[in-house]
C-alpha cells in the first residue's frame, strides 16, 4: 500500500501501473473463465436446494472480488478510497432486509385475499 505521491499524482500512477506485470491479468482472466464455467455447470447439472444457492453465491462473490480487486485496481488503492467505495453499498443490505419483510407480508396478504375470493365465489351459502 506504500506509494510515494508527489504533486502530480498522474506521473506516479503511470510508473506504478507499469510495475503491474501482465501475468496477473492473464491469471485473473483464466480464473474468471473457470469460475464462470463452474457457475454455469451449477445450472447445467441442475444442482438444487441449498447447495445451488451456496454455489451460485460463492462463485458470484469470487468473480466480483477478482474483478474489483485486480481489474479495477482496488488492491493498489489507498484505504481512503477503498472504504469510500465498499462501505456505502453495504447499506443496500438494509434495503434487502426491508424488502424481504415487505415481500413476506404481501405474500401472506395475497394468500388471504385470494383465498377469500375463492370462498365467496363458491356456490355453497355461508352461515352468518
Amino acid at each position: 500500500m506504500d506509494q510515494a505521491v508527489d504533486g502530480h499524482g498522474g506521473v506516479v500512477r503511470e510508473e506504478e501501473a507499469i510495475q503491474h506485470p501482465l501475468g496477473i491479468y492473464f491469471k485473473i482472466w483464466i480464473l474468471l473463465f473457470v469460475l464462470s464455467a463452474m457457475s454455469y455447470a451449477v445450472d447445467y447439472f441442475q444442482v438444487q436446494g441449498y447447495m445451488r444457492w451456496f454455489l451460485i453465491l460463492f462463485f458470484m462473490v469470487l468473480k466480483a472480488g477478482l474483478i474489483i480487486a485486480v481489474f479495477m485496481h482496488m488492491v493498489w488503492e489507498r484505504l481512503a478510497m477503498v472504504y469510500f467505495i465498499l462501505v456505502p453499498p453495504a447499506l443496500l443490505l438494509t434495503l434487502v432486509a426491508i424488502g424481504s419483510l415487505e415481500a413476506d407480508w404481501t405474500f401472506f396478504q395475497r394468500g388471504v385475499y385470494f383465498l377469500k375470493e375463492l370462498i365467496i365465489s363458491a356456490p355453497a351459502p355461508v352461515h352468518h
Partner: protein
C-alpha cells in the same frame, strides 16, 4: 492546483488504517495521488451500484411476494443447435463474451500506461467489438422472448407476470450501459490511434487534454459493466 500544498501532503502519507484517518481528516483532498477523473468515475460507479442494487432488491421483493410460479430461466433461455435444447446456453456465451472483453480492457489499460499506442488501440477495438457482440446477442435474446415466447412487461405465458417486468428493466438497463461503453470504446480507440493521448490534444467532448489515465477511467466503467453482469447472471438467470 498548487504543488506546495500537495507536496506537503506527501511528507506525511501513512499506510493502512492510520493513513485512512489521515487522508479523510486532511485538508483539500481525501484521495491522495488519485487523478480527479478517476475519483469522479468511482463516485459515479458507487451511485450506479445503488441503481442496480435497487433493481435487484425490487426483483427479490416481487419474486418473493408472487403467488404464481416463477418461470424457469434455465428453460426460457435454452437454445437448440439442431439437437436437444441446451439450458441457458445463450446467457453462458454472453457471459464469456463479456469476460473476454474485460480481459482485453485490463490489458489495454496496462499497455496504455506503457505508452504502447498500437497494442492499446487493437485491444480497445477488440473490447468494443466484443461489447457490440454482447449487445447483438441481447437483441437476439429480447426479440426471441418478445416475438416467440410472448413475454411482455405485464405478463407471460410461463408464470409470474413480474418475470417480464424484471427481465426488461434489469437487462435493459444493463444493455444500455454496455451500449454507452461500446460508443466510448470506439471514441477512445480513435483517440489512441490518432495519438491524442500522447500529445495531450484537447478532445471535442470535454475540451481538455487527455492522457492514458483516461483509458484506466474508461476501464473502470467497463469492468463495472462486467461486474453488474456477474450479479445479474447469479440472481436473475441462475437463482
Amino acid at each position: 492546483m498548487s504543488t506546495e500544498t500537495m507536496g506537503s501532503d506527501s511528507l506525511e502519507l501513512k499506510s493502512g488504517l492510520a493513513g485512512f484517518f489521515d487522508d479523510w481528516s486532511s485538508d483539500q483532498r481525501a484521495f491522495k495521488g488519485v487523478p480527479w477523473g478517476k475519483a469522479m468515475m468511482w463516485i459515479f460507479l458507487v451511485s450506479d451500484t445503488f441503481i442496480f442494487g435497487c433493481f435487484l432488491a425490487s426483483y427479490m421483493t416481487v419474486r418473493m411476494s408472487t403467488l404464481d410460479p416463477w418461470p424457469s430461466a434455465s428453460e426460457v433461455f435454452a437454445l437448440s443447435f439442431g439437437g436437444d435444447p441446451i439450458p441457458l446456453i445463450l446467457i453462458a456465451i454472453m457471459t464469456f463474451v463479456l469476460i473476454t472483453s474485460s480481459g482485453t480492457m485490463a490489458l489495454a489499460v496496462n499497455y496504455g500506461y506503457r505508452k504502447n499506442k498500437w497494442v492499446t488501440f487493437w485491444l480497445l477495438l477488440a473490447t468494443a467489438l466484443l461489447g457490440a457482440t454482447f449487445v447483438g446477442m441481447q437483441v437476439f435474446e429480447w426479440s426471441k422472448l418478445i416475438f416467440e415466447e410472448g413475454v411482455r412487461p405485464w405478463g407471460n405465458p410461463m408464470g409470474a407476470a413480474q418475470f417480464g417486468s424484471v427481465f426488461f428493466m434489469v437487462t435493459g438497463f444493463h444493455g444500455f450501459h454496455v451500449s454507452i461503453g461500446v460508443i466510448f470504446l470506439f471514441i477512445f480507440s480513435y483517440k489512441v490511434a490518432r495519438g491524442h493521448l500522447e500529445t495531450q490534444q484537447a478532445g471535442w467532448f470535454t475540451k481538455r487534454g487527455g492522457n492514458y489515465e483516461e483509458i484506466e477511467i474508461l476501464g473502470l466503467y467497463w469492468h463495472f459493466v462486467d461486474l453488474v453482469w456477474v450479479f445479474i447472471f447469479a440472481f436473475f438467470y441462475l437463482w
